[in-house]
Amino acid sequence: MTIDMSKYLGLFVSEATEHLEALGRDLVALEREGEAGAIDSMFRHAHSVKGMAASMGFEPVARLAHRVEDLVDAVRAAPDRLDRELVDVLLAASDTLMAQVRDVARGSAPQEAHALLEQLSARLRDVTGRAPLPTRVARTVVHLQAAASADAHARPREEVEPVRRAPSRWALKFRVAPACQVPGVRAFLVHRRLAALGEVSELRPALEDLKAGRIPDGLVSLRLETSSSEEAIRTSLRNVPEVELEVLKAVEAPPPAAPVQDAGRAAEAEPGRTVKVRTEHLDYFLDAVGELMLATARIREVGKALPEGMRPPLEEGVYRLHALVKDLHDKVMTVRMTPLSVITDRLPRAARDIARKRGREVDLVITGADIELDRAILDVLADPLLHLLRNCIDHGIESPEERQAARKAPRGRVSVSVRRQRDRVVLELEDDGRGMDAAGLKAAAVARGSLSAEAAARLSDREALLLCCLPGVSTARDVSDISGRGVGMDAVKRSVEGVGGTLEIDSEPGRGTRFTLRLPLTVAVVQLLLVAVGDEVYGLPIAKVVGAVEADLAVLSRSRETALLPHGTGLLPVHPLAGLVGMEEATVGGVRPFVVVEAESGKVALAVDRLLGQEEVVLKALSRPLDRVPGLSGVTILGSGRPVFILDVPRLLAA
């Protein structure tokens, strides 16, 4: 009988991916800083991937990882043999390994990387003068235990932390009284008391189960490493009700290499206990809590219909419910907070690749990547950030010769700095390159017909820089260059604004450019103006709304087909919202409201049927396939339970 390995597949994919990402980061760090420590870490990552893949029976992955491991080991012995080409081969190998792991994740067999294996072998012979050894891979389906032990071997002994004064180790067992109503909380309290004395390990049941009250027979066992005395341990539990200490005895010192789940810098930086949670569960929690909030609001509404005398008890209940749900919401949001490093960690590698391709020399400095943001915002931000980086290196940083001619250091510098500012996170991406040409952007925008020459003349330089966010406007001097500044900047701006953030650009010719992203910490709670068209309701972000005016469409002057609404000292083009969203335009005449909104190239007036008022809503990202619909920036669910789309007016007008 074979053991079904598929249940380990998810773990294999996620752990192997982590190792390979770390390997890539190490390679870049190694090349940049010549950091010797990186080699040891690379060796461990390659070794771990090899062990896991071999246990899973993924031969091509195991073989390639083994070859990488050998080569890294060889370089460790002969650091002078490390050069740019060797790093390139290793990076290519880590990319290929990643692709193989992705194949596995998709359910297809990983492809053998013949050419790459050959290259690695050649380099290895080159460095060591011997051929690589064959890779042993599990032929039968084996238990994942094998991977775990391989992993443990990979960890060098010297990594075990030196112990200052050997604390003693105790085995404890306690029982929560059967009459206890909340055994989980009770056991958690004991756990906390003990954790205050020293290090708790081998907790059975595991902390998550324990907290949830899943404690068979009320029995909890654990090991405690502490310098406190036996008496001190007893005392700390003496005044805890509903708990009986059944066993407390000294045990042997811990074995030298206790199996630890994660190795590497993450574990060093963060000793706290963590569990991995699938992001879809987090999404589900957030949705569920959102629903709870709605349900609470509905109960409150119903309560208003009750006779006066019956209301207070209900209101008190609703008040408590509301407070609890609010707490829960905050907790869920906290859990969803993820450090920016999740997306900035891949930037050094990207910077290296782009710089190499373009013949640039660039130092990338990242600071503040430990600052946390909601995962949903990070997801949205990943591509724009990469795009901005590419922009800086492609178009901002000059070639070394050009820089020297301009009396600058030959190596360019791009910095990504992140900081908290009240309830926002400010991310600045700055280069010391040639800067952007405001006048050129104005000319390009006018040439494309995105802007009148008069309007362009009125723009300040700072406003003009944002013109690069109009689709198709670019100042790239190089005509053959297909990825000019303008390409994709519209997408960057849209993404940033889609999560409730803003984008600013500062630039000084010859000195450099700075992109400033101001982002909300959590999924935006946005203020919407709700408008009705026919039976449908749409939301317009208040930030984009300039005002609302009432007028009779029939009496407005027209320029060709477009009605013009007097506003301030000028006339604004009128767009019936019904038409923009693809509905029949109602023919009812008379006075109706118009919403004046900011669009890319100035203000426009949207004709709507009714204004329904302002509402603060939790923005939801558009899931597939809605994210493909032009002109939508998000969706929300109103108190009535009705989903309402939030419109991206400029895109709606352009589509």
Binding site: L189, K211, P241
Partner: protein
């Protein structure tokens, strides 16, 4: 000398009930507070031997108040008043330093047993 108790709850009904329970156990209820803000101030003023703390309250939650009280006085003994279904909040309060908890609906003998145990009298 009877131990001095501060009772914190936003419902008068609950406060009265808790006061009666303590009185029957020979404790001295020296003060009451109806929200977390008041609780922190009353604690500073009274320095009781024991504080019972509701979790969900207006202005400042019991967890916040507990955290602040312990910041003032690391030896403060705060017992959370919780209901079934509030387990995660109680655990949060314990992390904030609460000494123990009692679970609603309260039975006098259970409450007194917990309190005496926590104060090391049992």
């Amino acid at each position: 000398m009877a131990k001095r108790v501060l009772v914190v709850d936003d419902a008068i009904f609950m406060r009265n009930m808790i006061k009666d329970i303590f009185a029957s156990g020979g404790f001295d209820v020296v003060g009451e507070a109806a929200n977390g803000l008041e609780a922190v101030e009353k604690y500073r003023e009274l320095r009781p031997d024991l504080t019972t703390m509701d979790i969900v309250m207006p202005f400042k939650s019991g967890i916040e108040a507990t955290r602040e009280i312990l910041k003032q006085d690391a030896s403060a003994v705060v017992i959370m008043c919780s209901a079934l279904g509030q387990e995660s909040l109680v655990m949060e309060a314990i992390e904030a330093g609460a000494a123990d908890f009692i679970v609603k609906p309260f039975r006098a003998e259970d409450v007194l047993a917990v309190v005496k145990k926590v104060l090391g009298e049992a």
